[in-house]
């Protein structure tokens, strides 16, 4: 029992250290890597463009639901006119970055973990090592840089379409003037809110992509399983850990910004 109590924290600290080294080594390896730009563009397409339909659909429905629920709650207090404020601040400061990140983890993050796991199993990563090439520079660094670039853009699209969804609910399904809604949005959102939104998006992008890459890259170190099951296990682990990390980091950033 005592051994177990000691082993678990040690394993967690060891894993965190390994993860930090992995991320640091990947970012450092980008310096001077040839044709990095081409690989970043490819990663931007995979992590950005291909995920955009999901982001837009989920964003629209989030805004629609938020508009309906917000209108219902605010009408109890006779404050229907504040719907734009409620929807826009909720989305820009909180739900936009979090939900967009969770969607991107589900689509791009899981794909990245599975791809790296298969590349590990099929010895493509070992092949890079035997060539003397850095797998970190070739496979991981472009993904991390692309995530830092694409997550804020995806989050912006998510928040904008969701605010539009809130307008559709409030003004087309419910009896709220469109002018009142947009005036409320305009009054509520200040540059600091947008900065918080983009800060969260950058942190979530780096964090979740690094977690997914770390799990996929180390598929062979999952000693309990091998082959396809190891890829499946590392992909599941990547998605679960990334989702937890998004919510934990969101709490940390929010509490730091609120206090300051």
């Amino acid at each position: 029992m005592l051994q177990l109590l000691g082993r678990v924290p040690l394993a967690v600290v060891g894993e965190l250290g390994d993860f930090a080294l992995f991320t640091g080594q990947s970012l450092r390896s980008a310096v001077g890597s040839r044709k990095l730009g081409r690989r970043i563009v490819r990663a931007l397409y995979e992590q950005g463009v291909r995920c955009l339909p999901v982001i837009l659909i989920v964003g629209l429905f989030t805004g629609l639901v938020l508009g309906l629920q917000g209108f219902y709650v605010l009408s109890r207090y006779g404050s229907n006119g504040a719907l734009g404020e409620l929807v826009s601040l909720t989305l820009v400061r909180e739900l936009g970055p979090v939900l967009a990140a969770l969607m991107l983890v589900g689509q791009a993050g899981s794909a990245l973990a599975a791809e790296l796991g298969i590349q590990r199993n099929s010895e493509q990563i070992a092949a890079l090592e035997t060539m003397g090439a850095s797998p970190h520079a070739y496979l991981i660094a472009p993904r991390l840089i692309a995530a830092v670039l694409s997550f804020p853009i995806q989050t912006a699209f998510f928040s904008l379409i969701a605010i539009e969804g809130g307008f559709l609910s409030g003004s087309l399904l419910m009896p709220l003037s469109g002018g009142v809604y947009w005036a409320s949005v305009h009054r509520a959102v200040v540059p600091a809110d947008v900065s918080e939104c983009f800060l969260k998006a950058v942190v979530f992008g780096l964090l979740t992509t690094a977690i997914c890459a770390h799990n996929g890259y180390n598929t062979h170190r999952r000693s309990r399983t091998t082959g396809a099951r190891a890829v499946s296990a590392s992909t599941t682990r990547a998605v679960v850990l990334s989702s937890i990390a998004v919510l934990a980091a969101d709490y940390l950033i929010t509490s730091l910004l609120v206090r300051s």
């Binding site: 890597s33 010895e123 070992a126 092949a127 035997t130 003397g132 090439a133 850095s134 520079a137």
Partner: protein, 274 residues
């Protein structure tokens, strides 16, 4: 068998002494010694699970040995130092059993990968060298195809093109004919012999195919119980009286005898089946 451990007169490209490697409690390599003369083809034979691939990965630096010394071109190879490892990898290529080609890249991009990622050669020269390698391996027409669109033999040639495009001194082949039918197997060995002569690299092969290995190799080594049980020329292998060599060399005849015994209703000779 021990007589064959003596170094040949030719210059040694690779001199391996006392390599040990264990995984947990299981000792896979228990003091492997091997000499590889420059410009030769050396084949390491052995039963499945005797650590042939682990040994090859130790040579390539993918697996770090627990003990022992590897000398490459007269210099001790310290696989623990990144600079030394990078220098060795620049001069050595590894052909994986699975080919380990990148599915998302075309044939040309696959061949260009080591030059792009490990050298400062200009892009135009990289393209010219890759096209030349593809032409020499009769793959130029397929330069824009992805590995999944090529046959097994073509994938093997593509992997060889990627291995030789950096002009290595040493190419390590990990079971290059695994899973191939006899005709394709012969083609792969012919390809190794042809291009080894053409490009002048030194080759170390790991395989189970005794007749083909005898035909293509300058030297043969037999790995057994974590050690090199025999090493010498194909002629010495053929005439060796060592029991292990005898069992491996005459496996086909032994199989005929065992099958005949089974058909006669006699009990098997006592050898385990796997």
């Amino acid at each position: 068998m021990t007589a064959a451990l003596q170094a040949p007169a030719a210059e040694l490209l690779l001199d391996v002494r006392g390599i040990h490697k264990s995984f947990g409690d299981q000792a896979v390599l228990a003091g492997v010694d091997l000499v590889v003369p420059r410009g030769s083809v050396v084949t390491v034979l052995g039963k499945s699970g005797t650590g042939k691939s682990v040994f090859l990965k130790c040579l390539a630096g993918i697996v770090t040995p627990d003990a022992g010394e590897i000398r490459f071109a007269g210099c001790v190879l310290d696989t623990g130092t990144p600079a030394a490892r990078a220098e060795f990898r620049r001069r050595c290529s590894y052909l994986f059993q699975s080919n380990a080609l990148f599915d998302s890249l075309t044939a040309l991009e696959n061949v260009a990968l080591p030059l792009e990622q490990t050298t400062q050669v200009p892009n135009a020269e990289i393209r010219a060298r890759c096209l030349e390698a593809l032409r020499q391996l009769e793959l130029e027409r397929f330069k824009d195809r992805h590995p999944g669109e090529l046959s097994g033999g073509m994938q093997k040639r593509l992997a060889l093109a990627r291995a030789i495009v950096t002009r290595p001194e040493l190419v390590l082949f990990d079971e290059p004919t695994a899973g191939l039918d006899p005709l394709r197997r012969n083609s792969v060995f012919e390809m190794i012999a042809k291009y080894q002569r053409q490009f002048g690299f030194t080759a170390v092969l790991v395989t189970h195919d005794v007749p083909e290995a005898l035909a293509v190799s300058d030297r043969i080594a037999l790995l057994d119980s974590g050690r090199i049980r025999f090493q010498g020329t194909p002629g010495e292998f053929q005439s060796s009286e060592d029991a292990g060599v005898h069992a491996f060399r005459d496996s086909a005849a032994a199989l005929h005898e065992a099958i005949a015994a089974v058909r006669r209703g006699e009990a098997p000779a006592g050898e385990d089946f796997l």
